[in-house]
């Protein structure tokens, strides 16, 4: 286990998340991609904190990222439910009522 292996794992996770965000049309699946991206950044924080420094800053930051992800998931679910009751679908393409 070395730092660059962990960085490559995080890069793979990030790219999978990015691919999910770019290709999926279901908003819940897009949210899954965002969660993958957040996990990739967390791996990077913890890996750098473990290999490059003696302080716990990376782990603390990862804790805050997890808190933000939880809040984001809760609000996103509420928005999806509202969107579903309004438009009858959660596909991101259909939410274009504000388009100029």
């Amino acid at each position: 286990m070395t730092l660059d292996k962990l960085l490559i794992i995080a890069a793979a996770l990030f790219c999978c998340g990015l691919y999910t965000v770019m290709t999926r049309r279901n908003a819940v699946a897009v949210l899954m991609g965002v969660e993958l991206i957040l996990n990739a950044t967390n791996i990077n924080f913890v890996a750098f904190s473990f290999f490059l420094s003696r302080v716990m800053g990376g782990q603390i930051f990862a804790v805050f990222v997890i808190v933000l992800a939880a809040a984001e998931a809760a609000v996103a679910l509420a928005i999806f439910l509202r969107m579903f009751s309004t438009t009858g679908t959660v596909e991101v393409d259909t939410a274009d009522q504000l388009k100029g």
Binding site: Q59, I60, R82
Partner: protein, 177 residues
């Protein structure tokens, strides 16, 4: 680190990345959610190997226990179950795959070629340190996070409650008069 720990590392890494690829390509959104569970569990394993025991426990509790259940709720509530077709249409597959592969190549190249000043990692229990730091040096972000969680809680409850229809409007007008 060598020997058995290395095998555990490769197993966790393979689980994380393999499940993440499944999340990206599986057409059924329910299967993708289950694959996401395995990916999160693999990340928790990586945290253990990185001497982040508190974070590993938090990952299992919050991600696997909370966020994934929320996502499954969203899947079930936002699809007409009677249709019996929980599909997950995709678009822009080829350009997205090309962009992601190029990005992965660049990131991997940078990770391998950058000379980091790597120290030997030490394994220490982290929970007590994290608790102490949250109460001293990182007290302000901790409090801001608590306010954010409260705001998210109220916002989610407000957004997801049923439509305010005509009767409530009538009530309000009565109150005015």
């Amino acid at each position: 680190m060598s020997g058995p720990a290395d095998y555990v590392f490769y197993a966790a890494a393979a689980m994380t990345v393999g499940a993440a690829i499944l999340v990206a390509i599986l057409p059924n959104i329910l299967y993708a959610a289950v694959a996401l569970l395995f990916s999160f569990a693999g990340v928790a394993g990586l945290y253990v190997l990185l001497s982040a025991d508190f974070l590993a426990a938090t990952q299992v509790l919050v991600y696997v226990g909370g966020i994934l259940v929320l996502l499954l709720f969203a899947v079930f509530l936002s699809n007409r179950i009677a249709d019996a077709k929980i599909t997950n249409p995709t678009h822009f597959r080829l350009p997205a795959a090309a962009i992601c592969l190029v990005l992965f190549g660049v990131l991997s190249y940078v990770a391998v070629s950058t000379p980091f000043a790597v120290k030997k990692g030490v394994y220490l229990p982290s929970t007590a340190d994290i608790g102490e730091l949250l109460m001293t040096r990182y007290l302000l972000p901790f409090e801001v996070a608590s306010v954010l969680l409260l705001a998210a809680l109220i916002g989610a409850a407000l957004l997801s409650r049923p439509d305010r229809g005509a009767p409530e409007k009538g009530d309000m007008e009565e109150g005015k008069g």
